[in-house]
Each structure stands twice: as C-alpha cells, then as structure tokens.
Amino acid sequence: MIALQGIQKYFGANHVLKDIDLTVAPGEKLVVIGPSGSGKSTLIRSMNLLEMPSKGKIVVDGVDLTAPKAEVEKVRESVAMVFQQFNLYPHKTVLENLTLAPVLIKKVPKEAAEESGLAFLDRVGLKNKAHAYPAQLSGGQQQRVAIARALNMKPRVMLFDEPTSALDPEMIQEVLDVMVDLAKEGITMVVVTHEMGFARQVADRVIFMDAGRIIEQGTPEHFFVNPEHERTQLFLSKILRSH
C-alpha cells in the first residue's frame, strides 16, 4: 500500500530522516511512537508528500510520488490525513468542511456528498453540529469533525499525525474512541501518537523512532512486554510512568 525506500530528509543541515525503509500493508494498523524531534511527524507527512524527501522513493498504491510529474494530487484523494491542529476550514460550516473536497476534487454530486457526510458526522456523534462553524466546537469535537472530513473522501489510507496531542485531557478519549471504532474496518491506518493504550489496543505493528531512524518494530505484545533496544525501554518506561 505504502512503501518508503531509502528515505533521507534534511531540513537545512538538520538530518531528520535517516535510511528509512518501511512498507505498510493494505489494511494494516501501524502506530509510530518516539520522542519529540525523532522524525515521526516528518515520516507520516512524507507518506502523502506534504514533506518531499531529500532522497529516496515513496510509492503509494503503485504510484511513485517522488517521480517528476507524479500525480500526487490524485493519490492524496485516497490518502486522507488528520492533523494535530485539526485544520478545519473556519469559513465553512461543519457539513461544508466534509463536502468541499469530495464535490470539487472527486466530483461527487453535492447531494451524495452531503448524505455520506451526514452519515459520517452521525458516526462521530456530531450530526447535530452539521450547520455549526468550527469555532463553535470544542477541540475534541473539531477533531472528530476532521476525522469525518477525512472519511468523507472515502480514503483507503488514513494518516493520523498526533491527533490527540493538542487536546485537553478530558477530550482525548472521545477522539480515541472514534479511532478505535474506525480501526475495526479494513482501512489502512498510520497513527503517530503518544497514546500507548491506543497503540496496544489497535496496532498490528508498532514502530519506535529516535533521532530520525526506525530503532525497533514489532507487535504491540513484543513492544510493551519485551522491547529489545535500550532506547525503546527507556522511552517506554518514561512515557508509561507518566500515564
């Protein structure tokens, strides 16, 4: 589904991704963890080419996104992303947020986009907010709308870049619940998060990153019971203690 091959990424002199080779299988739920500055956000952002790698190849659904003249926009239609800061369109209502891209980009008829949009809003428990504006919602509600917006593109991959990190603690669970529910489906999910409970519950595979490298990967059981690397152990002991 997604293959990263020999990825290097520099921001100026800063080497943020080093020799990344990673394949995400269709339907896989992949969770990426690691300390801040480890490159995990850059990693997930390169999967839809929001970050252009300095070197290496990114192949999504058989399309090499890094090739010149690649149809990046076409691929992005089926690879949706949920951001830490929600990034809802503030000048549009909740429902318009959900229908804008399907109608303009995917040429879905407006009525159909609204119908499926309302169904997704219902699923995240916010159908009654369809005609509200994002600023009228709480952070947790905004993030649930952002997930519904992503779903209304009918994507095959969902990328979550620290979706609960900007939320007040009492709102984290409502967003995680939606994500856990979503994970029951066949959709491919890549999630960057600090929520270890979520990782344990839904991940098929967990990746630990540090200083731009993938240090260790494995099943949640392997990770939380029996991590091999010292750095992984240290990170987990710190983050689990704080929870």
């Binding site: 990034n87 369109y89 503030p90 000048h91 891209a101 303009l104 980009i105 593109m153």
Partner: protein, 223 residues
C-alpha cells in the same frame, strides 16, 4: 464677495455644472475599471508571491518593485507618450484604466500577500492533503480567509486609487481634475473650480474611508 471666490464665479460654475458632472462620471468609471484591474493583478501576483516557485516569486517581485518605486506620473506618461513610438496608440481612457490599475495592482499584490500569510499554514496543508492543487486551494480555502484580513487595507487602496486618477489631468484624461482644470484655465475661475472638485472627491472617498475604518475596528475587536 470678491477675489478668487467672487459670487459671479460660483454662478458660472453652477451654470456650467455639466462640465464637472461629466468629469465626475468619468472619474467614477475610470476608478471602477482600474480598481477591477488592480484587484485582478493584485490577486494574481499576490498569490504568485505566496507560492513555492522561486521563478514565480521573482516575477511578482519585479512587477511590484518596479511599479512601487517609480512615480505614477512616469508610468502614465510612458503609456501616453512612449507607447505611440512603438506603434501602440491607446485612447486616453485606456491609458487611465491601465496606468492607474497597474499601479495599484502592485500595492494590492502586497495586501493580498500579507492576507495570505496571515492564514495558518495548516490550512494549505489540509487542502493539499485532500487533493487540492495550489491554485484551487488558494481559490477555495486560502483567499476567502485572507479576504477578511485584506478587506480594510483594500478599501484604503480604493480611496488612493480614486484620488490618483487625478494624475490623468496631465494627459487630457477627461476626468474630474482635467475638466476642472480646463474649465478654469479658460475663465480663470480657479477658486470655485478647485473647491468644488475637492468636495466631489470627498464625496467619493470619505464614505469609502469611513467604511474601511469601521471594518478595521471590527476586525480589531474580533482578532
């Protein structure tokens, strides 16, 4: 009353009011079309200078800097006096719309660029992540938000633009300033002519300026 503002001079102005009326209508028309041109150019170059292409940014810079750093009079004279030597004869009306429109387009570009910069970067990323191209993201996501920021300074630009159409008096532009000038230079009734002209400009500009100030106050409260 005698001297520059003698009563008979005012009487002459009133009886010749159509001269001023024509000029006023001409000023409104030139201003409207020049404003439209300025908005189109400003929107285009403002977006260009917000993109990631160095070439596009460079192009926008050349336009903006060369226009902002030369007087409007030179630009208008260029259109009026120099272009005919290149075989291009523009009617004075077109010189007016083009000269003033291109001039203010450069300022509008900067207003648009600032407005775009005020929109959080995440908005463009969200649009990209949904398959929007740069131009479509600008049109549907970024510019509608930038507009709120840009509207008060744009209204101020409209005020300057209206006043700057008076430069066209130097190339027989037929607008308000030219009409006032040619009327008064034939009868030497400069006093009433210029006072009346000033009042007509105020009638056009003051409501716009007041509107701009009110918008600024509103966005200030909201921000």
């Amino acid at each position: 009353m005698n001297g520059a503002f003698a009563d008979y001079k005012w009487a002459a102005l009133v009886s010749d009011w159509t001269v001023f009326g024509e000029g006023f209508a001409h000023t409104v028309l030139v201003s409207g079309l020049a404003l439209l041109l300025a908005l189109l150019l400003g929107g285009f170059f403002g977006v260009l200078s917000s993109g990631s292409s160095k070439l596009a940014k460079g192009l926008a810079r050349v336009y903006i800097e060369s226009i902002q750093n030369t007087p409007l009079v030179i630009q208008v004279f260029f259109l009026y006096h120099a272009l005919p030597h290149l075989g291009i004869m523009l009617p004075t009306f077109a010189v007016g719309v083009l000269g003033v429109g291109v001039y203010h387009g450069a300022y509008v570009s900067e207003v648009v660029r600032a407005g775009i910069q005020a929109v959080p970067r995440g908005q463009l990323e969200a649009a990209y992540s949904q398959g929007f191209s740069f131009w479509r993201a600008m049109r549907h996501i970024i510019l509608p938000q930038a507009k709120r920021m840009a509207f008060p300074p744009l209204t101020n630009q409209a005020v300057s633009l209206i006043k700057n159409t008076s430069v066209l008096a130097m190339v027989a532009g037929g607008e308000l300033m030219y009409q006032a000038d040619s009327w008064s230079s034939s009868n030497l009734y400069y006093g009433p002519a210029y006072v009346a002209t000033g009042i007509l400009y105020i009638a056009l500009c003051l409501p716009l300026a007041t509107y701009a100030r009110r918008l600024e106050e509103q966005t200030g409260v909201k921000g």
